[in-house]
C-alpha cells in the first residue's frame, strides 16, 4: 500500500506545487517608487523669484496692450523674437509630406472639420492668436510689439481678448484689462492660460478636442490623474516643457511631422509596467490607447457638424436649438451638431506623420479625410492611437472637386459673411476670392472627417482598458484595425470549423465505439447463458 501511496501523492501534489509557485511569483507591485520620484520632480518647481508689482516700469497707465509688450521687452530682451519663431505666433511650419515635398502648413492655411478654416474670418478666429491685430492677410508678422505676452503670462485670470477683435483685448469698457493688476501678477502659464484658447477651440468649451476642456481646471482623479485637484494638480507646462518659448508638444490634427512632441514616455519611460506583457504592448500600442478609455468625461464634445443645414430661419430670424445638457444641436450660423459624453475612442495606426487635404487638392475619396494619419501594422514606427473622428459635411466645388472656404465672419453686414448675411453663395465667393483659389461657382456638400488623436483625460489605473475589451471576438475596441492577427479577436474560420468537427467526430466516434462494445458484450453474455 505504501508503495502505491507515495507515487500517487507525488502525482497529485506536484501539479499543485506548480500552481503555488505561479501564485507566489505573480507580482503585485505597481511601480510605486517610480511614481513617487516623478511626483517629487513635479513638486520641486522653482518659486517665483521676483515680484513684478515692485517694478516702477510697470507702474504706468497703459493705454494699449502694445505698451505692455514694450514694457515687458524692456527687461526681457529678445523674448519677442523667440515667440515670433514659434507656432503660437506663426500658425504654420515647414513640413515634409510624402508626395508634396516641403510645404508650410498650419492653422494659417489649413482646412479643418469644425469652423473649416480661418482664412477670410481672421478677425474672429484669431482672437486666439498670441498677438494683436491679425485681422487679414496684411498682418505684419515681424512687429515685436504685436506679441501678446499677457495672454499666456497673466496669472490673475482676468485678461480678456475681445470677440471679433483680431487678437486684441477689449480696448475700453468693463472688460478692458486692468494692466496694472495684471502686470503685478505675471508668472508662468497656468492651466487657465493655456485653456483660455485650447479649451475653447472651435467656438466653445470642449467642442473640438473632447479631452481638453475647462473641467480640467478643477477635476477629480477619474477625469485626469495628472491635472486633478485631488492629486498632483499638474499644469500643462509640467509635461509641455518649454525652452525659449518653444513649447514641447504639437497638435496632431495640424502637425505633419513627428518631432518636438510631448509624450508620456518622457516621464514614465518606455517600460513603466511591472508586468512585462504590458510593456511589450508598448511596441505597438500607445499609452493613451489603454489609459484613456473614454473622453469627454465631464462636458460634451461635438462629434458631428453638418454645415448643409446652416442658414435656416425661423420667422425670418436665425435661431438655435439646444439639448437637455445645453449643447447647441442646431444653429442657423453653423448647421446641425451631434454631441456626446464619455465617448469610447475609435482607434487608428499612426506613426506621427500626417497629411492634410489642402484647398487646392482635387478630391477623389469620399468621405473626404481632412487629415490623414499615416501608419499601419507593418510600419515599425506606427502605434495604435485612440482618436476622436469628427465627422461632418462641408461645401465642395462641384466642378473642380475641391473643398471650399466660406467667409464666415465680418463685423459688418453685406460683406458676404455667412454668419451675418446667411447666404452660402456670397460667403463661398468671398472666401475663395480672399484665398485667391479658382472657384467654379457650383457647389455641393460632401461628407468629411477629421482624425484627432487623444492624449489627455488619463484615467486612474483601475479604470484602464482591460485586456478583453480588445482581445474579444465581438465588439472589440480594435474591430476597425484589421491588418493584423489579434489573439482573442481573430481566428481562421476554416481551421476552427475543421478543428471543432474533428473534436465532435472523436467524441461521437468513441461514444459509438463504446456503445457497440457494451452491446456486443451483452450479446455475448446472453449467448453464453443460452448455451
Amino acid at each position: 500500500m505504501r508503495r502505491k501511496l507515495i507515487p500517487f501523492l507525488i502525482i497529485v501534489i506536484v501539479p499543485q506545487i506548480f500552481l503555488a509557485i505561479a501564485i507566489l511569483s505573480k507580482s503585485d507591485g505597481d511601480g510605486a517608487t517610480q511614481i513617487e520620484e516623478l511626483k517629487q520632480r513635479v513638486l520641486s518647481k522653482p518659486q517665483k523669484a521676483v515680484d513684478h508689482g515692485q517694478f516702477a516700469e510697470l507702474h504706468k497707465d497703459f493705454k494699449t496692450p502694445q505698451e505692455v509688450t514694450a514694457a515687458c521687452l524692456a527687461c526681457h530682451t529678445g523674448r519677442a523674437k523667440e515667440v515670433m519663431s514659434t507656432h503660437h505666433w506663426l500658425w504654420e511650419r515647414e513640413s515634409f509630406i510624402e508626395g508634396r515635398g516641403v510645404v508650410s502648413l498650419g492653422k494659417k492655411n489649413l482646412l479643418n472639420n469644425y469652423c473649416t478654416g480661418i482664412r477670410s474670418s481672421e478677425g474672429s478666429c484669431n482672437k486666439c492668436h498670441a498677438g494683436f491685430g491679425w485681422g487679414d492677410k496684411s498682418f505684419d508678422f515681424t512687429n515685436e510689439l504685436n506679441v501678446d505676452c499677457i495672454v499666456c503670462h497673466d496669472n490673475t485670470e482676468t485678461y480678456e481678448k475681445a470677440s471679433g477683435g483680431s487678437g486684441y483685448p477689449y480696448m475700453e469698457g468693463p472688460l478692458k484689462p486692468d494692466y496694472k493688476h495684471i502686470t503685478a501678477n505675471i508668472g508662468k502659464p497656468t492651466k487657465y492660460n493655456c485653456g483660455y484658447c485650447h479649451f475653447y477651440s472651435a467656438g466653445g468649451n470642449n467642442i473640438k478636442h473632447g479631452h481638453l476642456e475647462e473641467a480640467l481646471l478643477d477635476c477629480s482623479r477619474d477625469v485626469d490623474v495628472h491635472m486633478t485637484t485631488e492629486g498632483m494638480d499638474m499644469s500643462c507646462t509640467d509635461c509641455h516643457e518649454t525652452k525659449n518659448h518653444v513649447m514641447n508638444g504639437r497638435y496632431y490634427g495640424t502637425a505633419s511631422n513627428d518631432y518636438n512632441r510631448a509624450t508620456c514616455e518622457q516621464c514614465h519611460g518606455d517600460f513603466p509596467h511591472e508586468k512585462s506583457i504590458l510593456n511589450e504592448h508598448s511596441i505597438k500600442v500607445t499609452c493613451q490607447a489603454c489609459h484613456i478609455p473614454v473622453y469627454a468625461k465631464v462636458n460634451s464634445t461635438k462629434m458631428y457638424w453638418d454645415w448643409s443645414t446652416a442658414t435656416g430661419m425661423r420667422d425670418g430670424q436665425p435661431y438655435e436649438e439646444t439639448d437637455s445638457l445645453g449643447n447647441k444641436t442646431y444653429q442657423s450660423i453653423k448647421g446641425t451638431a451631434q454631441w456626446a459624453n464619455n465617448v469610447k475612442p475609435e482607434y487608428a495606426w499612426f506613426n506621427g506623420q500626417a497629411n492634410h487635404t489642402l484647398i487646392t487638392d482635387s478630391l477623389t475619396e469620399f468621405p473626404v479625410k481632412i487629415n490623414t494619419l499615416y501608419g499601419e501594422y507593418n510600419d515599425p514606427t506606427a502605434k495604435i492611437w485612440p482618436v476622436k473622428i469628427h465627422r461632418g459635411k462641408q461645401p465642395m466645388d462641384k466642378n473642380y472637386k475641391r473643398l471650399l472656404q466660406a467667409k464666415l465672419w465680418d463685423d459688418e453686414k453685406n460683406k458676404g459673411a455667412l454668419w451675418v448675411d446667411f447666404n452660402w453663395e456670397e460667403a463661398l465667393k468671398e472666401g475663395m476670392e480672399y484665398i485667391e483659389v479658382p472657384y467654379s461657382g457650383e457647389w455641393e456638400f460632401v461628407e468629411t472627417e477629421m482624425y484627432l488623436p487623444i492624449s489627455h483625460m488619463v484615467s486612474p489605473k483601475e479604470s484602464t482598458v482591460s485586456c478583453n475589451e480588445c482581445h474579444t471576438r465581438e465588439n472589440s475596441r480594435l474591430a476597425g484595425l484589421t491588418d493584423f492577427y489579434l489573439p482573442g479577436r481573430d481566428r481562421n474560420k476554416t481551421v476552427d470549423l475543421a478543428g471543432t468537427l474533428i473534436i465532435v467526430l472523436s467524441m461521437l466516434g468513441v461514444m459509438g465505439h463504446g456503445a457497440l462494445r457494451v452491446l456486443a458484450s451483452k450479446k455475448r453474455k446472453e449467448q453464453q447463458q443460452n448455451l
Binding site: P7, Y377, Y485, I503, S506, M507, G514
Partner: protein
C-alpha cells in the same frame, strides 16, 4: 500466464500525469485566449497559459533526458508488424472479445498504433506547439527592433498553426482516454498508469530472461 508486472516507472508516471494535467490546463486556458469560451478572463488565461507552457517545456526537457538515458525511446520506434491486426482488432475483434493482437511487456509496452501515434506526438505535434508557442510569446521583440535574427512580421501563421496543434491534441486526448478502457477491465490501464503495476500475459521465455522485472503471481 498472467503476471503482475511493474511496467510504468515512477518518473514515467509523474511525467505522464503532469503532462496530462498541463495539456488539459493549456487547452482550457488556450481556448479561452482563442475566445472559444469565457472562464477566468482573458488576462488570467494568458498568464496561466504562459506559466503552464514553461512548466511543460521544463517537463519535456526532463522527459527527453529520461527517454534517452533509460533507452525507453526505443519503445516508440514504429513498426509495420501487426499494425493491420491492431486496426482490425479495434474495428471487429474487440466486439467479439478477441485477444489483443500484440502482447504487452516491459520491453514492448505499446502496440504498433500507439507507437506511431505517440511518436507523432513527440516529434511533430508537441514540437510544433512548443516552437509556435515560443514564437507566439516572443514575436513582438523583433518588431521592437531588439532581436533581428527572428524577424516575425505577424502572428497570423504562428497562431493558426498553434490552433491546429491544439485541436489535434484535444482530439488525441479524447481518443487516448477512451482507449484506456479497452484493457481487460475498463479501469485496468488507468490503474496501471497510477500504480505502475499491470497484469500482463507473459511469454514464458521472455519472463525467464527478464525475471528481474516480473513477479510471479
Amino acid at each position: 500466464m498472467a503476471t503482475k508486472t511493474y511496467i510504468y516507472k515512477i518518473f514515467e508516471r509523474f511525467w505522464h500525469w503532469t503532462q496530462a494535467f498541463l495539456i488539459l490546463f493549456l487547452a482550457l486556458t488556450g481556448f479561452e485566449i482563442h475566445s472559444s469560451f469565457s472562464l477566468m478572463g482573458f488576462e488570467s488565461a494568458v498568464y496561466w497559459h504562459n506559466f503552464a507552457s514553461w512548466a511543460l517545456i521544463v517537463l519535456i526537457i526532463f522527459a527527453i533526458f529520461w527517454h534517452f538515458t533509460t533507452g525507453e525511446w526505443r519503445q516508440y520506434i514504429p513498426t509495420k508488424a501487426f499494425i493491420r491486426d491492431q486496426i482490425r482488432y479495434y474495428i471487429t475483434g474487440i466486439f467479439k472479445n478477441a485477444p489483443h493482437p500484440t502482447k504487452k511487456s516491459v520491453y514492448n509496452k505499446f502496440n504498433p498504433l500507439q507507437r506511431i501515434i505517440y511518436l507523432g506526438l513527440k516529434v511533430l505535434v508537441i514540437p510544433v506547439q512548443v516552437v509556435t508557442g515560443i514564437l507566439y510569446m516572443f514575436y513582438r521583440y523583433p518588431q521592437g527592433g531588439k532581436i533581428e535574427i527572428i524577424n516575425v512580421d505577424g502572428l497570423e501563421i504562428i497562431a493558426i498553426v498553434h490552433t491546429i496543434g491544439a485541436f489535434a491534441l484535444v482530439a488525441f486526448v479524447i481518443a487516448h482516454v477512451y482507449l484506456t478502457t479497452t484493457g481487460k477491465t475498463p479501469l485496468e490501464s488507468i490503474k496501471a498508469m497510477i500504480t505502475g503495476w499491470e497484469e500482463l500475459e507473459h511469454d514464458e521465455e521472455e519472463s525467464l530472461s527478464n525475471g528481474a522485472n516480473a513477479e510471479r503471481k
